[in-house]
């Protein structure tokens, strides 16, 4: 039995005044246990919609459909409420961006964790609470039990949230922008924690991020999204050092974390589209230096370029074959 969360042909759309608008336009994704996979891309590329859909969630006014959804070798129907309840939290945990709203301001750290544990088992004890807090890197968890969310720093709140997500013992964790708005010390701490969950506890961790350096540090696979589709995929570090898709190249050229630091930053003119392209053709063609006629008429598919490397750019894929 393959231990992986696998989705094929995933589509997410939102209702607008002018009909359904695609946010995720047919994405295949495989997240193995004991492996990390990061999704990068800019606002409106569909990365958060994709992450939520892996939990069977969709934002208000949206709908999702997938050709198949398989968890540890078993096919799941995302349409049945009872399978969704089993999936969310128990099989797949969720960690959101740090914000004051992620925790209930009236509940102590202990009450939060007891509630998270209660969903999984009866008589969740203090020992389990302390164990979870230790697992997310708190050295003196006892001192923390009675604290309210506003008495914690942003980084501490983020770790309490992670402890809640781990309470039910999920095999997979979806982390949506877990390092956004954290300072360097706290961001490092969260990425190190996620990496140790992958390595020591064999969790499958999917991280949605706009931070390319965070994806490099987490390691594992990297998917680059643009306008609701994956345009390039490969091992994170290899992909960042040798990108093939013109969009990935542009994103890296604009990234301040890229080294060496004396190379100038190059902004990508124009703005990323919000949602999927409604006509045929490559969504990036309008901003692409390599675009040719065929790019505007037929939609490129994600093709295997080399072991572990996939690319949706015909002009580049041909170049690589020579």
């Amino acid at each position: 039995m393959s231990e992986a969360l696998e989705v094929r042909g995933l589509r997410v759309s939102y209702a607008t005044r002018s009909g359904w608008r695609g946010a995720v336009a047919g994405v295949d994704l495989r997240l193995e246990r004991g492996a990390a996979h990061s999704i990068v891309g800019e606002s409106g590329c569909g990365k958060s919609s994709l992450a939520l859909a892996l939990l069977g969630l969709v934002r208000t006014g949206g709908r999702r459909e997938a050709a198949s959804y398989t968890l540890d070798g078993r096919a799941w129907s995302l349409e049945r409420p009872e399978t969704l309840r089993e999936l969310r939290g128990r099989r797949v945990g969720l960690l959101l961006q740090e914000s004051a709203q992620a925790l209930d301001p009236r509940l102590s750290v202990e009450r939060h964790l007891r509630a998270a544990l209660g969903a999984a088992r009866e008589g969740a004890g203090r020992e389990r609470v302390l164990e979870l807090l230790a697992r997310v890197g708190f050295d003196a968890p006892v001192d923390l039990l009675a604290r309210l969310p506003h008495e914690l720093s942003g980084g501490m709140r983020q770790r309490v949230q992670l402890a809640c997500a781990l309470a039910t013992g999920p095999s997979y964790l979806i982390a949506d922008e877990p390092t956004a708005s954290l300072d360097a010390l706290l961001a490092r701490r969260i990425v190190t924690l996620l990496a140790s969950l992958v390595e020591r506890e064999r969790l499958g961790v999917l991280m949605v991020t706009h931070d390319l350096a965070a994806a490099a540090e987490l390691g594992g696979a990297l998917s680059v999204m643009y306008a609701g589709t994956v345009v390039e995929r490969g091992p994170a570090r290899e992909l960042l050092l040798a990108p093939r898709h013109p969009y990935t190249e542009a994103l890296i050229a604009a990234c301040a974390a890229r080294e060496p630091f004396d190379e100038p930053l190059r902004g990508l003119p124009g703005a990323a589209p919000q949602g999927a392209l409604e006509r045929d053709g490559c969504a990036f063609a309008a901003r692409c230096p390599l675009a040719r006629g065929a790019c505007r008429s037929s939609r490129p598919t994600l093709l295997k370029l080399a072991p572990g490397r996939e690319l949706a750019c015909p002009p580049r894929a041909e170049g690589a074959g020579r």
Binding site: D183, A184, H210, A213, P235, A257, R258, G267
Partner: protein
């Protein structure tokens, strides 16, 4: 920059917040530095190090002790603050053009038009009649910068203005700040939690720790050979770009 050429001199700036319980909190302690004409000075530090207190104190938005002095005679609005949440400085019920006209009307003659301001920040006629919510995040941040420029500032204080923006849009805003510095000699005080932006784009970097300025100098020196343990720790913790030798 030597203090003789300084555009802005900040001396012994301190900010103290009183708390309902316990002793008052010293958010900023005796911070002194100069900002040169056209200079990009980045201020970094961990959460709670006093970065935002410093930005607000320099912009005159929080009670403080010490002095903040501009070298040349300038109006009261010569130091302008741009926030992370660009929407906060734009009235949600006014169109962008009207917001700009309002600020321009308070200034001296001859003055630029709202359209000229928008063009200076890379926007155009289409945005004149737009409401803030109709703009993308990057456009809104440009509009907030245009609003600050309408006051004809000498110094722009930017408090985490890139945090909510995408990578490619961040690079566009940094390019815009570069143009404004070169063309108008605008001094930029840039508060950020992004060490890579400070390392890459700043003329000088200041490191704050527990309200004190523990280090100030060119970025290659501050991060390459840090004098302070806090700088070393902060820079060492940053999420790193992969090194080429890890390439398979």
């Amino acid at each position: 920059m030597s203090s003789a050429a300084a555009l802005l001199s900040v001396r012994s700036l301190s900010v103290r917040y009183s708390r309902r319980r316990g002793p008052p909190l010293d958010a900023l302690r005796e911070v002194s530095f100069d900002l040169g004409r056209g200079e990009f000075l980045a201020l970094v530090g961990a959460s709670g190090s006093g970065k935002s207190s410093l930005a607000r104190a320099v912009a005159g938005l929080t009670p403080c002790s010490g002095t903040v002095r501009l070298s040349e005679a300038s109006g009261a609005r010569a130091i302008q603050l741009v926030f992370q949440d660009a929407g906060a400085s734009l009235n949600p019920r006014r169109r962008i053009g009207a917001v700009l006209e309002e600020v321009l009307a308070l200034g001296p003659q001859p003055r630029s038009s709202a359209l000229e301001l928008l063009e200076r920040v890379g926007l155009g006629r289409e945005q004149l009649l737009a409401a803030p919510h109709e703009l993308s995040g990057g456009q809104r941040q440009r509009a907030a910068i245009a609003r600050a420029l309408a006051a004809q500032p000498r110094v722009l204080v930017c408090d985490e203005i890139l945090s909510a923006l995408d990578t490619s849009v961040q690079a566009q805003i940094l390019e815009l700040l570069g143009e404004l510095r070169r063309a108008r000699g605008l001094g930029v005080l840039f508060v950020t939690h992004d060490l890579a932006v400070a390392r890459r784009c700043a003329d000088r970097v200041g490191v704050l720790h527990a309200g004190a300025l523990v280090e100030l100098g060119p970025p290659a020196q501050v991060f390459g050979a840090p004098a302070s343990e806090h700088t070393r720790e902060l820079w060492g913790a940053r999420l790193r770009w992969p090194a080429p030798h890890t390439r398979p």
